[in-house]
Symmetry: C2
Subunit: 347 residues, 2 copies
């Protein structure tokens, strides 16, 4: 038996998970001498995407949501890039690269019945950074692309506000909106991130929400009002955005990270909902797999964002954490703003 470190969910937290209690690194030893399962592969993980949504799976099984609850004792599942170590599959020869949903652990045996979760990673472009397939060209990029175009309906000359603007999704939304001729305002949690989105990513302006409230900042930065709010945060950001919205504005609800670790009774008291009516706003939630997002935009997203990256017309920022032992803390950093860019675990 060989050691095989795994990022495991132990039991349901009520607030922010605690490492060693609700989540931990455990050894999921595997038999390195065993044969490859018939029709399957053994994958060595190279990179795993670390995302806020993992938190939503750490809940009691009877509470339904858009992804099934994790079973205690099981590893977190993440979009990952791996290398085939053993193979009984013609599609996946040894040493080839794959992308797909895998447990966050060093080695994973994938049986025939689960092989549909893996796809060969075709590296046709000039982009040598594999991690981009977990970011701009991966699920966060498609989330940004589909949400912006399907729900945000970008329009030249209009104003968009993006929260968590230097994050995996936000950095893409802001740059795509800029390319559409919009005025782009971003919210971030540090001055360093603020400098990044305005100096490096070309946002028109932004603010550090830890220093200035979203309501004050939007009044200052968008006196003309905003037309689209791409929401990754919820809570006070959402309330302020609704107040700042122009008639017929669109709120793209991509996440509410401010409340992932709080019970409903502790959620921010949103009191501006009447303006959804009187301003005739559309507030819509989505996840990437919805039928008018990934199926509709995946090919276009790959083609266009790949080209933009090759042309250096958009930039990506990756926050890499090396070594699976650091994965739990990296995950928790997403909720305190400790990351800076798309969080990726390098094994």
């Amino acid at each position: 038996m060989a050691p095989n470190k795994s990022f495991v969910f132990n039991n349901v937290p009520t607030g922010l998970p605690v490492v060693g209690e609700h989540i931990s690194i455990k050894d999921a030893a595997y038999d390195s001498d065993a044969d490859c399962p018939a029709g399957g592969v053994l994958v060595k993980s190279l990179y795993a995407s670390i995302d806020p949504y993992h938190r939503s799976r750490m809940r009691p099984a009877h509470i339904k949501s858009y992804q099934p609850a994790l079973e205690p004792g099981n590893p977190l599942i993440a979009r990952s890039i791996g290398k085939i170590v053993k193979s009984d599959s013609e599609t996946f020869p040894v040493d080839s690269l794959v992308v797909g949903n895998l447990p966050i652990q060093e080695y994973t045996t994938v049986g025939k019945e689960l092989m549909h979760f893996l796809k060969p990673l075709e590296e046709k472009s000039k982009i040598s950074d594999l991690r981009v397939h977990l970011g701009a060209l991966g699920v966060p990029g498609l989330t940004a692309y589909g949400g912006l175009y399907e729900i945000g309906k970008p329009a030249k000359g209009q104003t968009i506000f993006v929260s968590a603007a230097s994050g995996a999704v936000g950095q893409m939304v802001g740059q795509l909106a800029k390319l559409e001729g919009m005025k782009v305002i971003g919210s971030v949690g540090s001055d360093k991130k603020l400098d990044y989105i305005t100096s490096d990513l070309g946002f028109d302006s932004g603010f550090n929400y830890k220093k200035e409230s979203p309501a004050e900042a939007l009044a200052r930065l968008a006196p003309e009002g905003i037309d689209v709010y791409f929401d990754n945060v919820g809570a006070e950001h959402l309330d302020a955005a609704i107040v700042a919205m122009n008639d017929f504005g669109r709120v793209v609800m991509c996440g509410t990270i401010a409340d992932y670790n709080t019970a409903k009774e502790d959620h921010y008291p949103l009191r501006s909902y009447d303006l959804i009516f009187s301003k005739r706003l559309t507030v819509r939630g989505f996840i990437v797999s919805d039928k008018d997002i990934a199926p509709k935009y995946a090919a276009e997203h790959q083609q266009r964002v790949r080209q933009l990256l090759e042309d250096d017309a958009i930039r990506v920022k990756t926050w890499e954490v090396e070594g699976i032992d650091k994965a739990p803390d990296a995950f928790l950093a997403l909720f305190t703003g400790g990351n800076f860019g798309k969080a990726v675990l390098k094994f």
Copy 2:
């Protein structure tokens, strides 16, 4: 000069308007011997629609909303039915009936430049009750029709929840949804109204929100969840509806009467907004004049609802108040549930 009672807005209330202070009946005397204005008419009002949205116009002029603020000292403007008393217009002969936006007052002189606000009332159907043109065949009916079809997207077998269910809009929404094969649940403010929507209008069920909270009632009446919420109320109703919603549900925001008389800081603290994201709901506000409502549905609404009325396939309930002196109290009754059906003032 002849007396001419008028329902006047005096100054901006902070809460529920007080009769004699913020609103009152005054004499807007007019010269009954004067000639008719060139190209215009003199109209005697027969009926005026009394609606909650009048409240939203009683605000400081610098606060923008979907209708301009009323100027202090001016009468409320309402959808009305009138009879032409004097005429210098071929379109509107003396004694003919008109429908349009008029001051809530007994007599109104309409100059040539404002004649586009009036339309001849064509009475081609078997419906003899003129008041229906202010309800089912009027703005509330079109509001119900357009909001339900454009945003609610009724689907056979799905469940719709309607608040203020015996009101001008709610009674139409519920009956139209029933005709589409939906399960219909209504919320009302009295047992008498509850009996009306279930016994007379054919709703599947309902509850009296003064006796049972929306959250408890929806858990009891829609254990399968709801797919559409037609919101006339906002506040606790909206929060509970979001919690009860199934994935991809639609919230049709037609009004938030629970908050029309409260400052933002006293609005209900809506804490379920994160579910708009995770259930991928669409929450959209609208008013009847929006480009995908009246322009898109007006002809269809007239044709279809007229037929349904003639076939006795839907019913309408009108709450008539006689005499303009009673208009201010009738208006206030809308906010306490004192009305029962579409509120209409008979002059």
